[in-house]
Each structure stands twice: as structure tokens, then as C-alpha cells.
């Protein structure tokens, strides 16, 4: 029994060819088919190796293997740690393991010692020996402990403010299990919901449970998942499909990536349950090609699930067949839209089609199709396991459960957070997120990517749920949350998002294809100080028309960044148009750099660094900038040690 999933001895005969309904439970609580203390022991050992209970004689060094930590060198770190463990002769009681993302990406690579819960940040391979040496003596490597801006240190995982405010239910596994080992997932209780469903529930009961839970789609629109499943169940067709939408394309969103990288089996389990509930035997995961690690882990997860009989024919001897194919996207944001995604799976251009018919009636290959996003599906096993009633205790009445957000921008703690629905923006940004970086003032938060809106100071006490946000012109979107400080120009932000949607428009419908182009051109003119008030009126009209008449949800939502900034930061637009001024000093054409004669010491640093020789001045004499030559690159500002360069 090399693996928890293996047969413990010759009496255990499970294989996909001879599936047994008790297989999953038998792994963790068994053996059921025979009595053998030895076999029971083997199981316990395997499980302890994953769960690492305190009080045991066993320790684990967990290294974050999310994309963020991987890019800051966590792979090399694992090697160094393993080497150090070997050198210290601890290899029989200390394991080094790579898991999924811990969400605290800014501070990576992250190391987490179990069962003590010691948490190290920014760990380098050179730190490996110190970490290992202190395992035995229970000491903490102080220099690697997380410290906040005020200098307080937090050596334990649960004390860190970033985690303290979170409710980790979806992300728990991400920081604890090896995503490439199905046995890890099973050891922490994985696939038990599937067993429950297959053994004790009818498809109708599953759908009812999901409906009772109030689960709403986490992809952005917040459509009730149970309702969707029920509609697909009703469609009287032989062939139906389950699609997992893993085409997470919003700039600044990486929730789904983290789930897929850190806990792929939870998504597979959700899909299999969905298939059972709806009466489908084939699932597809459509994952964007820009997520190579997620693709790799999904491939291995699917392969392992097949190998152990959790995918394929007659799953766990229930008579239910279900398999999953992985489809890689080819680089088109619009494929996040359900019908475009289906077209893409069919090998066509990812152009949305009109609804109705809804996908649940006629979706992929014209067959009833349920399309759920990654996070939604990951919620499913949880709901089955907890029960709808328990699940509803999380979050709000209309938006139960938790939501994962990708916090980014000018925050102290950017990263991935999971909080119950209904927390206020303030709690998330200033609590979990640690507030604005460098002591600057909060200006706005952009939610929901190119489909979402920008909210301002006055919205900070709004609860974050589907309905509250849409009432003020924003959406929860898929969960991207970009926080901006006073240095951000809202016209520039609107321009940025429009440039994105314009580039990603599929071109099928007139308003989106032509309208976003003109909206972008107007915003560009505004940023250059060339726009008029007529342009502003045109922009507002275009926003209305594009919103009202575009074919798909992406087109309809793409004016939101403009509309919301116009609504809450109108004076900034007016400054650009009327005064030809960018208050935040972001729009290059509207910015002037000037040297404050009183502060300039004539050190010559700016003069030396100016790429276009626009700065003149004698040494030790105040310098000056020649506006006609200045290209507004801002180098002088960043180089000046005396804050003598002023941007206006």
C-alpha cells in the first residue's frame, strides 16, 4: 500500500474493473471488506501523513506551490529543504511537501510547518538549513516570520491578520494537500460527498439540496445553480453535458487558477455530482491556455480519478458513468461567456450566440448543458457534505456561502482571500487587505474586472454580495478586487478597461465591435486633453446603447467601468475635458514636470538621468525642465532625493 488509494492487501479487491461502493470510505475508515488491524494501521499512517495531527511524532514542511510562489522560486526551495532534512537525518519523521496557493502571494515563497502552524514568508533556499535545524528544538526562525508595517511579528499562521479575517472552506485544502495526489484529497475527506450522493441520494434530492443551499454562480451573474441544474434535468434528452468554465480571463482575477492548482479534485467531484444530478455522462473543463500549471494538475487529477475508478464507467459500482475531457482555450477573453465557450469547444470561433434557447435547453452540440464556473463547482461537495442548512449559515440570506477574492492594487496585503458573503468592502480592504499601502488614501476599488464598476469611499460599508453591488452599478464579477489609492486617475482606469474589452471584442454585434472602439477613442482623447463636452455626451450615449443593445453579457457589461467612474468621479472627467488637467497626474500628455527651485540642491541626478536632455542647470544651482523637450517619462521625479521635482 504505497498510496492510500492502493489495495491494502490481497483481500482488498477494488479496481475500476470491480468497483465497490465503499471504496472511498474504506480508504479512510476501513477496511470494511475484511478485518485486519494491520490494514487499519496502514490507512491511519497514510492519513496522518496528510493531516499531520498535533501530538504525533511527525512533522511536515509545506512549501507553497502556487503560481506566485513558484515564480519566486519555491521549486528550488523544496529541493533545498529536502536536502536539509536528509542531512539532518530527519527524513523518516519530517516530510517536505508542495501544495497549492496560500493566497499570500506578495510574501512568497511561503513555508508552513505542521502541526505547529509556524508560518514563514519570503523564504530563500539558503534559509532551508535554519528551518530544518529549528524543527527539532521547536524554535522559530525569527527573521522569516511575517511582520506587518508596524513591525509586529506573527509567527503562527492563524495569528496573521491576513488570514484572521478569512473563512477558509474552499481554500482549506489549497495550503495543505499535495494537489497531484488524489490520496491526499481522499485523506482529508475528499470524494465523500460523491459517495453520499451516489449511495443515498436521488438526482432530484441533490438538486433540491443545491437549491436549498441558495448557491449562486460564482462566475459573475449569480444565477442560482440549483435552478440551472433543475432546468437541465428537465430537458428530456439522452445526451447532456456539464462544462466547467475555467477560462478565467478578467485581468486581476486568479481565484479559479488557485483552486485548480491547489485542489483540482474538489472541482472534479463537483462536476461528477452535477453530472449525476442532471443526468449527464460527459463533462468538459475549458481552461485557458495561459494557466499551464492548472492544466498540468487537472490532467493529472483526471488521470488519477480515472485510474481509481472515480471517473469512467460505473463509478463506485453505482451504475453511473461520467468522464471529463480537458479543453485548452486558445486565447480569447470572450470565451468566458458561456455560449462562446461552447462554440470554442465545438471548434468554432468563440462568438456568443443569442439566448434563448438557454444552454440548459440547447448548449454544447445543441444538447442541454450545464455550465458552472470553477468556484461554483468547488462549492458543491462542500454543500453536500455540510448540508444546505449548515451552508446557509455562511454569508447572507440572498447570497449564502463564501466568496474568494483576488485582492490587488495599492494594498498592504494583496493576495487571495476567502470571506463570507456580506462582509463589507471596508472589512475586506482594510481588515484582511491591511489597508492602503505607503500610508496613502483610499480612492476607489474596481470590482469584477472589465464587466464591473469602480466604487468610491462612500461605498466602503456596502456588504459584498450579488445584490448590494449591482444596486450601485458594480458587480461581484468573478472576484477581482483592484484597490486604488489617490494616485490613480479614474479616466485612465476607464480607458484601461475599455482598451481591454475593445481588444477582446469578438466582433459579432455592432454595438460592442464598433461602439467600444469609439468609446476607447473618446477616452484616449480625454487622456490627451483633446476631448470636448460633446465627446462626453457621446461617450455617455455610447455607454447606454452598448449596455442596452449588445448581444452578450460581456458587451452589455463593458460600459460599467466607464459608467461607474462617470457616476462617482465625474469631476475628474471634467478636469480632463475642461481644464485639460489630470488631477492624479497620470495622463502623460496632461502632466507637467517642474523643479521646485527652493528644494532643488542642484545635485544633477535628474539631469544625468533625463533620457532627452530636457533638464538644464549648473551644478549646485537649481535646475529647470524644458517643457518642449520633456517626454514626461517621470525619471527625474523618481530619481530626485529632495522631492524637488513636482508633477502637476
Amino acid at each position: 500500500m504505497i498510496n492510500l488509494m492502493d489495495n491494502c492487501c490481497s483481500k482488498c479487491t477494488h479496481s475500476p474493473a470491480t468497483p465497490c461502493s465503499n471504496y472511498v470510505l474504506c480508504r479512510t475508515a476501513g477496511p470494511f471488506c475484511h478485518t485486519d488491524k494491520g490494514c487499519e494501521e496502514k490507512r491511519k499512517n497514510h492519513i496522518n501523513n496528510v493531516r499531520v495531527p498535533s501530538g504525533g511524532n511527525y512533522q511536515q514542511i509545506i512549501v507553497c506551490g502556487g503560481t506566485g510562489c513558484t515564480s519566486s522560486g519555491s521549486a528550488r526551495l523544496v529541493d533545498s529543504l529536502k536536502e536539509a532534512v536528509n542531512e539532518a537525518g530527519l527524513s523518516d519523521r519530517v516530510a517536505v511537501k508542495r501544495t497549492g496557493c496560500h493566497g499570500f502571494c506578495e510574501n512568497g515563497p511561503i513555508v508552513h510547518i505542521k502541526p505547529e502552524g509556524i508560518f514563514y514568508t519570503r523564504v530563500k533556499p539558503a534559509d532551508a538549513r535554519d528551518i530544518v535545524n529549528h524543527l527539532a528544538d521547536g524554535q522559530i526562525v525569527e527573521r522569516l516570520v511575517y511582520r506587518d508595517a508596524a513591525g509586529n511579528s506573527y509567527p503562527h499562521f492563524h495569528e496573521i491578520p491576513f488570514y484572521a479575517g478569512q473563512t477558509l472552506i474552499l481554500l482549506t485544502n489549497c495550503g495543505h494537500i499535495d494537489p497531484e495526489q488524489i490520496s491526499d484529497y481522499v485523506a482529508v475527506g475528499g470524494y465523500r460527498s460523491l459517495v453520499k450522493v451516489l449511495q443515498h441520494m436521488t438526482p432530484e434530492q441533490v438538486i433540491e439540496e443545491i437549491q436549498l443551499s441558495g448557491l449562486r454562480g460564482r462566475g459573475g451573474a449569480g444565477f442560482p445553480t440549483g435552478k440551472k441544474w433543475a432546468a437541465a434535468r428537465r430537458a428530456a434528452r439522452e445526451i447532456k453535458y456539464i462544462i466547467c468554465n475555467a477560462d478565467e480571463g478578467d485581468p486581476g482575477a486568479f481565484m479559479d487558477r488557485s483552486l485548480l492548482e491547489g485542489d483540482p479534485h474538489s472541482v472534479l467531484e463537483g462536476m461528477i455530482i452535477a453530472g449525476f444530478a442532471v443526468g449527464s455522462h460527459q463533462g468538459y473543463i475549458y481552461c485557458r491556455a495561459e494557466y499551464p500549471l492548472a492544466i498540468k494538475r487537472l490532467k493529472s487529477a483526471i488521470q488519477q480519478a480515472r485510474q481509481w475508478g472515480l471517473l469512467g464507467k460505473n463509478i463506485l459500482n453505482s451504475g453511473f458513468d461520467f468522464d471529463i475531457d480537458l479543453k485548452e482555450g486558445a486565447g480569447a477573453f470572450v470565451c468566458g461567456e458561456g455560449t462562446a465557450l461552447q462554440a470554442s469547444i465545438e471548434g468554432l470561433r468563440g462568438m456568443p450566440r443569442v439566448k434563448p434557447p438557454r444552454s440548459t435547453e440547447k448548449g454544447l452540440w445543441e444538447k442541454p448543458t450545464v455550465l458552472n464556473n470553477v468556484e461554483t463547482l468547488a462549492n458543491v461537495p462542500l454543500i453536500i457534505q455540510m448540508g444546505a442548512e449548515e451552508y446557509r449559515k455562511l454569508g447572507t440570506e440572498q447570497s449564502p456561502g463564501t466568496k474568494i477574492f483576488a485582492l490587488s492594487g495599492s494594498l498592504v496585503n494583496p493576495g487571495l482571500v476567502e470571506v463570507p458573503m456580506g462582509k463589507t468592502l471596508r472589512e475586506i480592504i482594510f481588515g484582511t487587505g491591511g489597508g492602503i499601502r505607503d500610508g496613502k488614501a483610499f480612492k476607489a476599488v474596481q470590482l469584477g474586472g472589465p464587466s464591473g464598476g469602480c466604487l468610491a469611499e462612500q461605498h466602503l460599508d456596502l456588504p459584498v454580495d450579488f445584490d448590494s453591488l449591482s444596486s450601485v452599478g458594480a458587480t461581484i464579477g468573478s472576484g477581482g478586487m483592484v484597490v486604488m489609492d489617490e494616485g490613480a486617475c479614474m479616466v485612465d482606469v476607464a480607458r484601461f478597461f475599455l482598451a481591454f474589452t475593445q481588444k477582446e471584442s469578438c466582433g459579432k454585434c455592432t454595438p460592442c465591435r464598433e461602439g467600444t472602439k469609439r468609446m476607447l477613442e473618446i477616452l484616449e482623447r480625454m487622456c490627451r486633453g483633446e476631448a470636448t463636452l460633446d465627446d462626453l455626451a457621446d461617450l455617455e450615449r455610447l455607454c447606454r446603447v452598448v449596455k442596452n443593445t449588445s448581444l452578450c453579457g460581456l458587451g452589455q457589461a463593458c460600459p460599467n467601468p466607464v459608467l461607474s467612474t462617470l457616476q462617482y468621479f465625474r469631476e475628474e472627467y471634467m478636469a480632463h475635458i475642461v481644464e485639460k488637467r489630470c488631477p492624479a497626474g497620470v495622463c502623460a500628455e496632461l502632466v507637467r514636470y517642474r523643479i521646485d527651485e527652493n528644494l532643488c540642491r542642484g545635485c544633477g541626478l535628474c539631469l544625468k538621468n533625463c533620457p532627452v536632455q530636457a533638464i538644464r542647470g549648473q551644478r549646485k544651482q537649481p535646475h529647470a525642465i524644458d517643457d518642449s523637450r520633456c517626454i514626461k517619462c517621470g525619471v527625474c521625479l523618481s530619481k530626485c532625493k529632495f522631492k524637488a521635482v513636482v508633477r502637476s
Binding site: 486558445a330 486565447g331 465545438e346 471548434g347 468554432l348 452540440w365 533620457p611 517619462c633 523618481s638 530619481k639
Partner: protein, 157 residues
């Protein structure tokens, strides 16, 4: 010079088309894998894929031009992006570009015959303080002279 593996590649393509010829919706995975084999999707390749999958060439072309992942012109193993922003220009960016062109032997927007390099220019890399600047693959290289730029590129495989 690397050995030519044309026959190998054709064989792989034939296998690929055989594998997928009766699979509905196979066009995108086939284009992805064909691009992996050949580096880019040439007109001949698109023709072969269309014929092999019995998909109208117009549709294959439509799909290949829709998704940003697909390249219809060869791309080099190394992508050089030379900044042509104002700062780089006045600091001798064009001399750097000329030197690179001479070394690589292609014009802007082209790829060398041995597929070692693709040379592109960009409007501004936003690193004006380091001008002149270029990006080689993921690395930004600043304060270039023609010699320094060529030396950097010569290190690329």
C-alpha cells in the same frame, strides 16, 4: 545549424490528423498541436489541416485568426522587442535597432530563417530611465549600446 526534421514533423502532423479526423470539435486542439510541431501555422499547414479534418479552409482560417494564441507567421525561439519610445530614440535606440537587424539579418516584424529570432518594436516599454531598452523574451535589458545589445542577443540559443 540544427538538423532539419521536416519529415518527422510531417509524420507527426499525419498522425495528429489521423487521430482527430473523426472527432467533432477537434479543430482548435489540432491547431494548437500543429503549431507546437511547426512553430506557427503556415498557409500550407492550414490547408492540410482543413483537408485532413474535412473542415472548410475559410473556417480554419477564421478560427486561426480569432484566437490570439495562433501565429500565422513563423515566430522565433527568442522574441526581441526593441523600444522605439521617444526616450530610447534620442538615446540612440535606432542605432541599437540597426545593429540588431544587422546581426539577426531581418527587418522589423520578421523572423530569422533559422527561427532563432523574431524582431519586433514596441511603442514604449515604460523604462525610459534605462533608455535605450529592449526586451529579450521576458528579460528587460537597459542602457544599451549597439555592441552591448548584440552581445546580449548572441547569448540566446
Amino acid at each position: 545549424m540544427q538538423e532539419c526534421h521536416c519529415e518527422d514533423k510531417q509524420m507527426k502532423l499525419a498522425q495528429l490528423l489521423l487521430k482527430y479526423k473523426d472527432t467533432p470539435g477537434a479543430l482548435i486542439p489540432v491547431l494548437q498541436q500543429a503549431q507546437e510541431i511547426f512553430g506557427y501555422l503556415s498557409p500550407e499547414l492550414l490547408r492540410e489541416i482543413s483537408a485532413g479534418l474535412r473542415i472548410p479552409l475559410s473556417r480554419t482560417y477564421g478560427v486561426a485568426t480569432f484566437y490570439s494564441q495562433f501565429h500565422l507567421k513563423p515566430r522565433g525561439r527568442n522574441i526581441i522587442k526593441v523600444c522605439q519610445g521617444t526616450a530610447c530614440h534620442v538615446r540612440g535606440g535606432s542605432k541599437v535597432l540597426e545593429a540588431i537587424k544587422r546581426y539577426v539579418g531581418v527587418e522589423t516584424g520578421e523572423t530569422s530563417e533559422d527561427l532563432r529570432f523574431t524582431l519586433e518594436t514596441v511603442a514604449c516599454l515604460g523604462a525610459c530611465g534605462l533608455a535605450p531598452v529592449m526586451m529579450v523574451n521576458e528579460e528587460t535589458e537597459g542602457q544599451l549600446t549597439p555592441d552591448k545589445a548584440v552581445k546580449k542577443i548572441a547569448d540566446c540559443e
